[in-house]
Point group: C2
Chain length 411, copies 2
């Protein structure tokens, strides 16, 4: 390009509804409490290398074809592993033809929305829920109805009221989206009784359930309840899961489970030429021998980091921070006094290299989320957790007078 070139202006050509422009990326912050990054020391590097060698030696030539002789649902040995795993861990009976490998569970969200949600359609979600689910539904033009959650998960009484209200207005929601097992962000596990109630309400109103179980491998006790997918008497539940939290997020491997009548409508809108091969192949080869032996110490590591985070928060914020001890996962969800605006706190903290997820992005009622925030404890080391929480307390004290007592210098 000649040095004199002036930029061509795309401003008038880009769609009017695009999100704001990205800033250039400048590396991870020092105190990285956002997103779903995981523990670096737990990546099973040696076994992944061995798995890569074995599977490529055996099947490497199939990389020459789209779908590697497995068809559009994804690498067959990985689907077979998922079928066995879901039977053992979640009580799900399904076949390999009912499992679609996706690029992370995010693609599962996109596909279900693309199949079901047109602009103006109504969708029911948990009032506190995954921010990426909310932002996606907004981009679809959906009418989002948030239903409160409590310690046992999605409130059945409130869901019943919401469904009645919609029915009175002649509206049939497209689905009820729930993260029942290690809810994001509350990290509770939906009780079995509550699961029964939710399914009964789904049946009563003819509204299917969209079950996002992507944290379910990380219940501290190692025992996850039977999935909604398995408890329903018919095809009404679409289930998604992921290996991002159990093995590694960068692999971008998730899966979607649905009976064939719905799967056959979802498959033609997955127009990506197949989920990338190496991640699927290496993961399948690794998991067949190593998943169970990997997940137990990972849970212990994460639990230890969580304890450090809870202790640090207690030490720095005293009783002014409220949280429930998570049943599993990688996040701690908390509430601060009314004086605090966590969206403002986020903006201030990032200048000191502390990143947090403000509650406003994780609640359907953004205003209701201004006292909440979510911290991921999986990625930072225990020392970084202590120092980052101290930093955050200092910034919060300075700006909002919370904690009321100066939390002191961080050590």
């Amino acid at each position: 390009m000649p040095a004199s070139a002036s930029p061509f202006d795309f401003t008038a050509l880009v769609r009017a509804d695009l999100p704001p422009a990205a800033a250039r990326w400048n590396g991870f912050p020092r105190f990285n409490f956002v997103g779903g990054h995981n523990d670096e020391g737990s990546v099973p590097v040696d076994d992944l290398i061995a798995a890569a060698g074995r599977v490529l030696r055996r099947e490497g030539a199939t990389l020459a074809t789209y779908g590697m002789q497995s068809g559009p649902l994804g690498y067959r040995p990985l689907r077979d592993f998922i079928v066995r795993k879901l039977a053992k861990d979640a009580g799900i009976t399904c076949t390999a033809d009912e499992v679609l490998i996706t690029s992370g569970s995010l693609q599962g969200l996109d596909l279900v929305n693309a199949a079901l949600v047109a602009p103006g359609d109504t969708v029911i979600v948990e009032e506190m829920t995954y921010g990426g689910a909310i932002s996606r539904l907004k981009r679809c033009g959906a009418n989002i109805v948030g239903v409160p959650v409590d310690h046992d998960g999605l409130s059945a009484a409130k869901l019943s009221a919401a469904l009645d209200d919609l029915a009175a207005r002649g509206i049939r929601a497209k689905y009820i989206y729930t993260i029942p097992t290690v809810q994001n962000p509350t990290a509770t596990v939906m009780s079995v009784a509550r699961r029964r109630e939710i399914i009964a309400l789904s049946e009563q109103h003819g509204v299917p359930i969209f079950e996002d179980d992507c944290y379910a491998d990380l219940v501290w006790t190692g025992e996850r309840p039977t999935a909604l997918y398995a408890m329903a008497a018919d095809d009404r539940v679409v289930h998604i899961g992921s290996f991002s939290k159990s093995i590694a997020p960068a692999l971008r491997i998730g899966f979607l489970v649905a009976k064939w009548p719905l799967m056959s409508r979802i498959l033609p809108i997955k127009t990506d030429g197949g989920t990338p091969a190496l991640d699927q192949m290496v993961l399948a080869e690794y998991c067949q021998d190593h998943f169970d032996e990997h997940i137990v110490p990972l849970r212990q590591t994460l639990r230890r980091k969580l304890v450090v985070m809870m202790e640090s928060l207690r030490e720095r914020f005293g009783d002014e921070v409220e949280f429930e001890d998570p049943a599993g996962g990688i996040f701690l969800w908390m509430k601060l006094p009314a004086a605090v605006d966590t969206s403002r706190l986020e903006q201030l903290a990032v200048r000191s290299g502390v990143t947090i997820n403000p509650g406003a992005e994780w609640m359907t009622d953004a205003v209701g989320g201004r006292r909440h925030l979510r911290l991921c404890f999986a990625h930072p080391t225990e020392d970084v957790i202590r120092e980052g929480v101290a930093q955050l307390a200092e910034i919060c004290h300075r700006e909002f007078g919370v904690p009321a007592r100066d939390p002191g210098p961080h050590r």
Copy 2:
């Protein structure tokens, strides 16, 4: 699920504009001439295994983070390789911040469309072009204007007329989509003079160019012309490329090159959590040492298969089939006498295990494409090519009387 379960009916809930339901996959057909599958013997299995071992040993722990310490544009060493490769092969000067790694060049198409094309917008494409580009634009609700191509590529005279016609109606097209180097499906290479004319027309009308160069590594001579991206005097060209045709399609690694003002608008709509890691990492590690030594014999292998296909077609169809000797790539595009309907031929052939891409799907004017068809010669062995072409000729003779003479039993 209890055995008595009856299916929940999603029929009333799925979007009205979905494509038809998928059929269950039953394995590849014996004579597989569709899509972009490549030569199995050319997958560099040993070197990919070595690359996987090296890169995972060195950087495996970064799999614990979204983006592997490289940010949302993709794995940095792969972007660096692409910057060097484009400078050497395509005359493109760009930085790593102007390269976005995508899940195949298909995601590049999706992102450019999502950034620029709203329902009712107009887009200019080559009259014969990639079927996936046409189907995507239809799903976007775009008004598609097809402009004829000739041996030198997109016709400048016809493009000029189309742009004038749109201008007269007050319409500014969102982009001109072209596959200049080994066009899909015609397999010609746009001349340098033609490239200059296309850029001049783009400048005159203020319509940017979307350059799809995903076959450019497969020009038989090894010399690809300077890319349109490099020839333009400003930011007006968006460029996409791929490793699907040069290394392996199942890896699903493509890339998009754009200046930052446009890239910064595209990046926030890539909401997939990052392109999968292992494919990016192993590919980068492999390519740094081996790309050039790999691509030369691959071109020779593909050229040999093409010669077998052209000879088989001549032998079976005689002068009744018209085609031009491709300048590179993996496809042969041909035209049969007016008696033939290739969409019907496709339906008949598949019953005998012969799959083809009918011309109607590769032309903006589907009716104009009914005599055309596209065959991929990269995947089948030379024997399978011979036998498959013989089968196809026999079926075509039986149904349409083309070739007029019975092509005889296949050997």
